[in-house]
């Protein structure tokens, strides 16, 4: 017998046949199909018991109640909290994507210190010791006012703790970022006296005259506004939207009234002139300056003149005035877009004056003049000698924009240390490069931030904060609501990284400084502090997650309409004009899908932005075809303003007035987050600040611009 080819052939065939009839083939096919459908490297969420935690969303001033669905104690979904007085189960796209912020690539995971151009990790103890050392040196120098602080808001115990820290330290230099809330407070203060703010009863008004307020673009408390807008048809309520661009709000309004950018105050005063001329106003609560105001509007804001300024017909002004007066529950609301950036006190006051004239103050469906929240009772601040010196000093500026301007103008540092909490001025103030320059002039910047954003990048030390899902905090409703709701943010999980509640960080720092500053922060933890300072409502707040103050219907609560003081408007303060000489006007557009500055958008939100706003990495600028000579729809162009230039894509849109360019606000971030940054342009880079005299607000509604094909 000889082993030959055929033997080997037999061997091979036998092996194949043996394998084929064995279970190997069938089993391997099955296993490989299971393997390919369940890649072992694909993360699979753990299974476990489902539970729900209630808390409050703090991504915008809306402060909606949220219900966080958890599996095995791990948060997996955010939904609107049913029955919550502000949003009653509703939620916006930013709220539902809130969990992404926990694991955001730009999160600050541990305290950081800047060495050269880079940040290095440092322990909490070392970071606090370092900051306390620098602060102690400032106090030793006898000029405690040289510590300044920028926060996002004034209401709630955390901003109050920053305020308390500065008071105990001896500095009056606390500044807040521009917001609808601060504009409303300033307006209420100007027209009705100190300690007040304004709310608008949108859900009961039957005629809303909106001066550019983006009711479905994030104005006020967004979900509450969505609901009020959605119920208009059922209630038979009308909405007239006055703005240069057919925004989503304008598109769903009963009437869109396009006017030239920045002329909202003129139109409001023009309508006032018509109402006064026709004697259609209720003067029972007018206190000071009404006669002077009436003469001023008759002379300066006659409809014929206003029509020219605003670019509308005289008849339209008279018609709007007539309809406003004839409505049963009319309401005028100020605040272009979100009502946050580039707002003017004159405009707010002029629009609110319509409410005062028509007599809807503290009436159902009208404007509410409300006392500011006063549920917090801190122990009286203890000041040592150094703090007393600082307390006598003047504040450096009236607003954060003015503060930045002064920092830049000074030859040598006028501030030795700067705290920034929950704010991103190096992105969201106009012309951020000047803000970065100003920051560079401050020898020591401490950022209390959850994210390594544009402002945190400029800091010398970053103290990482818990996100709203990891912290405890009281959040009073504001945002133009007529309800006074104090919500309680409760941690739904343990901090993912080595981060702290802002209140705890301040207590830690105060303790390290010792002396009277530590005495002012004599709490073991921020949670203890919160229980103490909200003692009057704490039981109810901690049990229900929110407190409605006052719980009674408004008619029983408010004692008649408040007085109105016209002296500010009677002087006819000057209206801010767009900077520059170019032929077109660039205006920023607030878009519900983009949060803007603090925090930056979630990866989810960025993905929802339409290609009429962002194409790939290119921002899209809206222009009326009439103005777009030489440009191609969808083509590239160079947009130039007196402050900067940017390459953009062009979108022909007949829904924007000729002569106006619209660019969305909230894109063009530059920090390290591959999902959110380097997409489009930051419109603030193209707009310079225009400080309004009298209010100190940056009232730049836009800027002159030109656009050319590239």
């Amino acid at each position: 017998m000889k082993v030959d080819r055929r033997s080997f052939l037999g061997l091979g065939l036998g092996a194949v046949a043996g394998v084929v009839v064995s279970p190997v083939g069938l089993k391997l096919t099955d296993d490989s199909s299971i393997w390919t459908q369940n890649w072992p490297w694909t993360p699979v969420p753990v299974d476990g018991e489902v539970s729900y935690d209630s808390s409050v969303c703090n991504l915008c001033p809306g402060n909606c109640g949220i219900s966080v669905r958890k599996i095995a104690d791990r948060p997996v979904k955010i939904e609107g909290l049913a029955g919550y007085p502000i949003n009653d189960g509703g939620a916006c796209l930013h709220g539902i994507a809130g969990l992404q912020y926990l694991y955001d690539p730009a999160r600050v995971k541990t305290p950081l210190i800047k060495k050269g151009d880079k940040f290095e990790k440092i322990s909490w103890e070392d970071a606090i010791t370092l900051v306390a050392g620098k602060l102690a040196n400032i106090r030793k120098g006898g000029a405690p006012q040289k510590l300044a602080c920028i926060t996002d808001k004034t209401q709630g115990s955390v901003p109050k703790l920053f305020d308390r820290f500065l008071t105990a330290f001896g500095s009056p230099n606390l500044y807040t970022m521009p917001s609808l809330e601060s504009c409303l407070e300033l307006t209420a203060q100007t027209l009705h006296g100190n300690g007040n703010t304004l709310g608008f009863d949108l859900e009961n008004s039957d005629f809303i005259l909106s001066f550019g307020a983006g009711l479905i673009e994030g104005w006020g408390s967004p979900v509450s506004c969505f609901k009020a807008n959605a119920s208009r048809k059922k209630r038979g309520a009308k909405l007239y939207q006055i703005e240069p661009r057919l925004s989503n709000t304008a598109a769903c309004a009963d009437k869109w009234i396009p006017i030239k950018p920045g002329t909202e105050a003129d139109l409001a005063l023009g309508i006032c002139a018509v109402m006064i001329k026709n004697n259609q106003f209720n003067s029972s609560t007018f206190k000071d300056g009404f006669n002077r105001f009436a003469i001023m509007v008759r002379n300066k804001y006659a409809p014929a003149k206003v029509a020219g300024i605003c670019g509308i017909k005289v008849a339209d002004i008279e018609k709007i005035a007539g309809q406003f007066v004839m409505a049963k529950r009319p309401l005028a609301i100020p605040g272009r877009g979100r009502g946050r950036n580039g707002q003017s006190l004159k405009e707010f006051a002029a629009v609110h004056t319509l409410n005062c004239l028509v007599g809807n103050l503290n009436q159902r469906g009208g404007a509410f003049v409300m006392a500011k929240n006063d549920y917090l009772s801190f122990p009286e601040a203890i000041l040592d000698g150094v703090a007393e010196v600082g307390a006598g000093q003047e504040k450096l500026a009236g607003s954060v924009d003015e503060f930045v301007t002064k920092l830049n103008a000074a030859g040598k540092p006028i501030v030795d240390a700067l705290f920034v909490y929950n704010a991103n001025p190096c992105y969201s103030l106009n012309e951020p490069k000047r803000v970065k320059q100003a920051f560079k002039k401050v020898p020591f910047v401490v950022s209390f931030s959850s994210f390594l954003d544009e402002t945190a990048m400029e800091a010398d030390v970053i103290l990482p904060m818990n996100t709203f899902l990891e912290r405890t905090e009281d959040v009073p409703s504001q945002a133009g609501l007529t309800k006074n709701v104090v919500g309680l943010i409760r941690p739904v999980l343990k901090p993912v990284f080595d981060t702290k509640d802002p209140g705890d960080a301040l207590i830690f720092l105060a303790r390290a400084l010792g002396g009277s500053i530590a005495q002012n922060f004599d709490w073991e933890t921020y949670a203890d502090c919160l229980g103490d300072v909200t003692a009057g409502i704490w039981d109810s707040l901690s049990e229900n997650g929110h407190v409605l103050v006052p719980p009674k219907p408004f008619k029983e609560f408010f004692e008649g309409p408040p007085d109105v003081d016209f002296t500010f408007l009677a002087t006819n303060p000057s209206t801010v004009q767009a900077q520059g000489d170019f032929g077109l006007t660039l205006i920023p557009i607030d878009n519900m899908r983009l949060l803007g500055a603090m925090p930056a958008d979630s990866p989810f939100a960025i993905k929802t932005v339409s290609d009429k706003v962002l194409i790939g990495k290119d921002i899209v600028v809206e222009i009326n075809p009439q103005t777009a000579r030489g440009l191609k729809d969808g083509g590239d162009a160079l947009l130039t303003t007196p402050v900067g230039a940017a390459r953009v894509k062009v979108n022909f849109n007949e829904g924007i007035m000729p002569g106006v360019l619209g660019m969305v606000r909230g894109l063009g971030h530059t920090f390290d987050n591959k999902f959110v940054s380097n997409k489009g342009v930051n419109v603030n880079d193209l707009i310079g600040p225009q400080i309004e005299s009298g209010s100190g607000l940056d009232a730049a509604f836009g800027i002159k611009a030109k656009i050319s094909k590239v």
Binding site: M1, K2, V3, D4, R6, S7, F8, L9, G10, L11, G12, L13, G14, A15, V16, A17, G18, V19, V21, S22, P23, V24, L26, K27, L28, D30, D31, S32, I34, W35, Q37, N38, P40, V44, D47, E49, V50
Partner: protein, 223 residues
């Protein structure tokens, strides 16, 4: 010079002549081929049947032995530990929290397994990393509530008489899929004697067809 080249030089006619299949004297070659075929067939077939499963599955021991019989005798039923939650989801294996409803870090009995449990897990506040014999791939949705409450089925139909076991058998993990051998079944041919011998999709379908008249739709389980 190689052998092949040598052959070429000497002429290959001889080889061709001897190797023709028509020559009855050359049947031995074919016979050997058949033998080789048979041997290879047998070796591969038996390997595929007997050796392949041993290579495919790795054996793992549970953290410690668990005596189901003892626990069932103590608590009375399956549902005390493996219960449906209020929202209808199934608790699966009990968490440490459930165990501590009866146990403490002091062993209740004298077995060495309970001593491991108390020392390594209760005292250290760690969950026991049980290996789950019946864990289905993650692309499968299965509702215990629909089967227990809706169809009135008992645990044994799918899980077998595990309540009567006194020790934990080794967990055999499929090296390719990472899932337990219990899903395919102990029998590598996929042949089953009892309803609980296999937990593949076809086994679901057979029962569904029998009980409801149809196999069901893909998306009912593959969400």
């Amino acid at each position: 010079m190689s052998k092949i080249e040598n052959k070429a030089e000497n002429g290959s006619g001889e080889g061709v002549e001897k190797g023709t299949a028509d020559d009855p004297k050359d049947d031995k070659g074919l016979g050997l081929g058949v033998i080789f075929f048979m041997v290879a067939f047998l070796v591969c077939f038996l390997s595929g049947w007997l050796l392949f499963p041993k290579l495919l599955y790795s054996k793992k021991e549970q953290p410690f032995n668990f005596d189901h019989k003892l626990h069932v005798a103590e608590v009375g039923d399956c549902e005390t530990c493996h219960f449906l939650r209020e929202d209808g989801t199934f608790s699966g294996l009990p968490s440490m929290e459930s165990c501590l409803e009866c146990h403490t870090d002091e062993p209740m009995g004298e077995t060495k397994d309970e001593a491991i449990f108390a020392r390594e897990y209760v005292a250290k506040e760690k969950e026991v990393p049980w290996l789950v014999y019946s864990k289905q791939p993650d692309c499968v949705f299965f509702s215990h509530a629909a089967h227990i409450n809706g169809a009135g089925m008992d645990c044994i139909t799918c899980h077998g008489p595990i309540g009567e076991s006194t020790t934990s058998r080794p967990y055999e993990e499929n090296r390719i899929t990472g899932y337990s051998r219990d899903i395919w079944g102990k029998n590598i041919w996929g042949i089953k004697k009892h309803s609980w011998d296999r937990m593949k999709m076809d086994d679901c379908a057979v029962c569904h067809k029998k009980e409801t008249g149809q196999q069901g739709y893909c998306f009912q389980c593959h969400k």
